[in-house]
Subunit: 278 residues, 4 copies
């Protein structure tokens, strides 16, 4: 069983290696991740410049020491998380059985997933037909990865009960894309696990101005809390109540419920457009 | 009526000015757009470096000449399309009545919207509660903007029939997010207008390798056609049949249909996680 | 007579256009400059990514209005000042009679020239055998370009008295590389013109720390005044005494005066190296 | 004795660690280097964005194994070589006794030093008053670092014969700045050591065009050999004749020999400037 592990905090992030340590007990792990931290880049690709990737040797302690589970092969990519995932699946590693992105230090909830590099990398695994897990813990400063790592191990074990992909591997029913968020607690602090829906905007952006005149610059921060009272059943609600949240995702922004409103808006527009009333 | 116009092809792109020329007949246009072309950046934000924005004067011919409709105020942003939209709405312009992103040279269909800067900018208008239109034409090399500009003008006129926002402006029912794709044809070549669903992957990535050894570099291109036979009713299908396509979008990746499969997968996992069988 | 005009403050900088207005009275001006401000990049080249250049039309008022002197052809380069100069001389413009870089807002004195984009662009003209002028005024916030523009016009007129390159053009004797710094004063405030030597370090760097832990970042600023009492005859001394300073430059860092000390240091080292005492 | 070791090939470059292995036998080595390869950036500084630095643990084999000489402390900097050197000397490490930049894979000869990151980093040590060595080998593809490492060890031993800085440390006479280039040969292939002068332009730039129309891009390469017959006594000549070349450098571009020509050019210009004949 082959597992691609990537992230957006970069190749040196402790959360990546917390994931590597549990995953290498499940299968052969290939780490292909950005060489630098990449928060906020979402699903962006590098299309106008070349990307470099470097095979690296890392301190074996990072992944649990020598002789601990399957070997780990590691590449550092001078690009975005999505670049890393594409480069892995199309070139450096090839087909895998599972794609994991994380463990991110900081939650990826609600609308945040649109600008999340963790999810942005994962989506490249999902659209290629692989079971995919994006996983984060709800703390940036002192992240605790133990509970998330344990949950990741359980999820991988359930996706592949025999420790290897089954005959229906690759079938649409098995092609799940899970966005997992775990409270920043030790295992004993977790209230349970909830299957949730993606919430709405959790944080808004604020602008800080620096300098004057021609030297003026703007800093964008995502620090304005919007979801003060999140709806029950959402990922935001779950995390705020100390539940680990698991949200099934897709890779489309289509909005069927708005079709009637759009139909009303557009009634007769084709005639108007094509008669070109000029 | 105030309109924010942005794009991902950059402040100098002809498609932006084709949009400006029709929109300034509808309202006061503020152009806030990247100073450089930004394809493939999706919804990415610049969070770890400051962004600069510069008020610019452009050749008046670009927007239809002096004294033609309402005045146009223009800012060039050293950042992504989403940076530009956020900076406009939070700082440079403030609240508006309509957000338009485009007219992009090159379609944004199906799963492409995840890495589209055109849609990535627009989404920042939508999540702030503004009616939002992302608009593209299906040709990169010799884009023809006339039909798309005419359709954009009609859409703006229908959203604001009186030429000004109505009393329910800002209500959720009016907060539509439309992804518009127009065939690269003169108006006479357009077969009609279709309300569509977002298709699946249209293009896959390929990797081109350059150089050897330590100098090896990878170029990512999105040029491998996947949707050779798109499903009827999708945006891909519409464009391939010379229809202008209008797809209602949302800003979430949540996937309700996968909930049962996830429930089955997770049965009893909380107990397993929390008893921590170590 | 063909003149290449570049800078490091970018294509929109007022100082560039103050230079364009006087130079187009002397010859045909080609502006090839970065599309963004580029301070501190020195002579750096973009070798690992492609550079884009775009022919641009600018507000004719910028260069003194239509029909004012020779026409001006303008390119914006997504690269460094040195990239711009190389691209102009090797591709976009070809051979010229004079290279001018500036007028920079902020002096480029003493050791500062090593990290100056203004000088870094100019050096690419000089090493190709063209007479070259780098020119700056001593004020960043409210730069006054009139005196510098007038001096630039005089210098160009003296390099080409007949308004055209003479027969000895391109000969080494004519291949001067002048670093010109003008006090930030109106013409009436200038005490005179001095031929100077390059001073030593004028400003040192300081580091400002931002954020904590994994989010810690360092800002480098060049704001620590070192040359409090500059030696008479240097460019720093001249500017501080309200003289315009003209310093002849070369493009080498070789240090003949240190040869004896190095000879003493290295005595017998070859024998030691080659006998390889291992 | 404290030694700062930096480079422009990045923290993972074998040449850096070849230097670390010999220098840690001389003193306490602090490696502060870019996290990515940075060729062609010269002395450029990052002034408009924050720089991150990360303490890293590297595979101990890289620096010769545990318990081999003095310990090595390592930082990776998300910036230029000059950023790295400044950050080290002003913040991360503080004062040192020796600054070494290299061992670079690829020579840095003649005018190349103006765009060399190896020299660009070193110059920041020299202007702060530290003895400084920039060192390179003449091969990019299969660089052989043994001879250069041995020469570096000898140079450090001669600068500090007692293994520690002497009482005159920091005095100008001891503040040498040496640019060392070693042929890409095993020790037995080195013909000797020469004190040289900096040659002129060794390589010129060529431009390769890619794409068409709005997608056109330019690649700058430094691959056009200019110095086909280098002058005897120069660094280019030495390397071509299999000598290790040691060139004393300074950090100024001043050109005293051109003063008479400039005096002739400028005769009476102050009067002309200040009477302002308008």
């Amino acid at each position: 069983m082959k597992i691609l592990l990537t992230n957006d905090d970069g190749i040196h992030a402790p959360g990546l290696w917390a994931a590597a340590r549990v995953l290498r007990q499940v299968g052969q792990v290939f780490v292909v991740a950005p060489d630098r931290e990449q928060s906020g880049v979402g699903a962006s690709l590098t299309l106008h410049a070349p990307v470099r990737a470097r095979r690296v040797t890392v301190d074996p302690q990072l992944s649990g020491g020598e002789g601990f589970g399957h070997p780990v092969e590691v590449y550092a990519v001078e690009g975005t998380p999505a670049d890393s995932c594409i480069l892995a699946l199309e070139q450096l590693v090839g087909a895998v059985d599972l794609v994991v992105s994380g463990i991110n230090a900081g939650s990826n909830l609600g609308w945040d997933v649109m600008v999340s590099g963790t999810v942005g990398a994962a989506v490249q695994g999902y659209v290629r037909g692989y079971p995919t897990i994006a996983i984060s813990v709800g703390g940036v400063e002192n992240p605790q990865f133990d509970a998330a790592a344990r949950l990741l191990q359980l999820l991988a074990g359930r996706l592949f009960p025999s420790g290897a992909p089954g005959p229906d591997q690759g079938s649409p029913s098995n092609n799940l894309f899970l966005n997992v968020n775990v409270p920043n607690q030790p295992l004993t602090g977790i209230a349970g696990v909830r299957i949730t829906t993606l919430g709405s905007r959790s944080y808004g952006e604020t602008i800080r101005i620096e300098g004057n005149g021609a030297r003026q610059r703007y800093w964008i921060s995502r620090n304005r809390l919007i979801a003060t009272n999140p709806e029950q059943g959402t990922d935001l609600w779950a995390l705020r109540n100390n539940y680990a949240s698991i949200t099934p995702l897709q890779a489309t922004l289509g909005h069927q419920e708005h079709v009637p409103a759009v139909e009303a808006l557009l009634e007769g527009i084709a005639a108007q457009l094509l008669v070109h009333d000029d």
